[in-house]
């Protein structure tokens, strides 16, 4: 993102709105400026800030900046999943897709949430740390497209690219859930940011899965997304 300095009236309204805290005042140049290293390309400045001069603009993006945009700007259509809103369906359509079926547990590991953000090295740490376990990564996931499926590593050129958050999606047979959770919680001690964990299952499996998460002290579940089972395949 860039600022059109001709139209900027130096009201500084924009400063607190930037989730990356990338906007500041350059006293030497007497201009409002955007720190490109901190800028998430999330589009809040263009889409949401009440800027009187409509100063924010987006120039043509390099590959690395486009990666930032696709993951951080919910108004962009993801180049990989071709859906807006940062992509993934997870449990939202499970009644139709059956991605997580009767004897399986899904994990969605949202790295960087809340608010701390993440770089691709953080995703490498988690994926490389889990890759030897009996898990299946969700292929229709924008992170998976960038990940080496053998090593779990992400490209070196992206290692420091900054994301607000992104979700690693995987599933595991019910019987293997414990070992995956144990490994994941061990990895949480090494990661340099935070992640929020979602555990997905069909409703019939809920009690069994609850007993597993309880063993790891994860049963203080304040919120859940419950799929009402109203979706249908066209052939139904």
């Amino acid at each position: 993102m860039y600022i059109d300095h001709e139209n900027c009236v130096l009201c500084f309204t924009c400063f607190p709105f930037c989730p990356g805290q990338a906007i500041s005042f350059d006293t030497a140049k007497n201009q409002v400026t955007i720190d490109q290293a901190l800028c998430y390309e999330c589009g809040v400045c263009i889409n949401s800030i009440p800027c009187p001069g409509h100063c924010f603009t987006e120039n043509e993006l390099s590959h690395k900046r486009r990666v930032r945009k696709f993951f951080n700007n919910p108004k962009s259509t993801h180049a990989i999943t071709r859906v807006p809103g940062r992509g993934t369906e997870e449990s939202k359509t499970n009644d139709v897709t059956k991605r997580i079926s009767k004897n399986e547990v899904g994990l969605c590991i949202e790295i960087g949430r809340p608010i701390m953000g993440a770089v691709f090295n953080d995703f490498s740490l988690i994926c490389q740390g889990l890759i030897d376990l009996p898990i299946t990564f969700e292929k229709n996931n924008p992170l998976y497209e960038l990940m080496d499926p053998i090593t779990g590593k992400f490209p070196d050129e992206l290692s420091q690219e900054r994301l607000i958050s992104a979700i690693i999606e995987l599933k595991v047979e019910l019987d293997n859930t414990e070992i995956v959770l144990e490994r994941l919680l061990n990895l949480s001690k090494k990661i340099d940011t935070v992640f929020s964990l979602g555990v997905i299952c069909e409703y019939s499996l809920k009690k069994k899965v609850m007993s597993i998460v309880k063993k790891h002290g994860l049963d203080d579940i304040q919120n859940a997304k419950i799929n009402a089972g109203l979706g249908k395949c066209p052939q139904d």
Partner: protein
């Protein structure tokens, strides 16, 4: 995007917060879903949710223009504070049998009860199992309860503290602060009513 899963709730009254999501399954039933999405949207608008927004919307765009931009892969997202409205919505959707997937995000006991009242047997659950890693670097829980209402993490702690300060100094009211903090949220799951309650609480507790 588990963008409505990890909402941090501190007090009992925070439980009056429900996110509605209707999502065509890409490659399965998304084709020709535009008409259905628009029908469901009209039902939602009649119920007057606390907030609703669309990835397709541009700044200050009115609803009729937005409707023209809705397409087969669009998603409907909104939030309610009134559980009765959600039960009514579920009841209508079950009866009309539109065939698109519906998810309600909220306190699991509440949502389960609401689905039961609407005669719905839940299919899948996604449970928020906490935050892990460098949690000691996170802002305070009150700020997080506001920040976590934006599904895509676009509300930062600086925006929250800036607006709280303006309420404390009397520059703006809590209701205005709630609206301003919610400006970056483009998916409509930020609950402005709940935000106002949280802000009022933060200002009265912290002076």
């Amino acid at each position: 995007m588990t963008h409505s899963l990890h909402r941090i709730k501190l007090l009992k009254e925070d439980r009056d917060d429900f996110v509605f999501l209707c999502t065509p399954a890409i490659g399965v039933n998304h084709e020709n879903s535009r008409k259905t999405l628009l029908e469901i949207l009209d039902i939602i608008l009649d119920l007057e949710p606390e907030n609703i927004n669309f990835y397709e919307a541009k700044k200050d765009m009115d609803i009729e223009k937005i409707k023209q931009l809705i397409h087969d892969k669009s998603r409907l997202r909104c939030c309610f504070s009134d559980r009765n409205k959600v039960v009514k919505l579920l009841d209508i959707l079950k009866r009309e049998d539109f065939g698109l997937s519906v998810v309600i995000s909220g306190c699991p006991d509440e949502v389960e009860q609401m689905m039961q009242e609407a005669g719905i047997q839940p299919h899948t659950i996604n449970m928020a199992c906490g935050c892990h890693g460098k949690i000691e670097n996170l802002p305070d829980r009150e700020s997080l309860s506001l920040i976590s209402m934006c599904g895509h993490g676009l509300i930062g702690p600086v925006l929250v503290s800036h607006m709280i300060e303006k309420v404390k100094t009397g520059d703006i009211k809590a209701k205005d602060a709630a609206q301003l903090i919610g400006l970056p949220c483009s998916c409509g799951v930020y609950n402005t009513v709940r935000a106002e309650q949280i802000i009022t609480r933060m200002v009265s507790i912290n002076g």
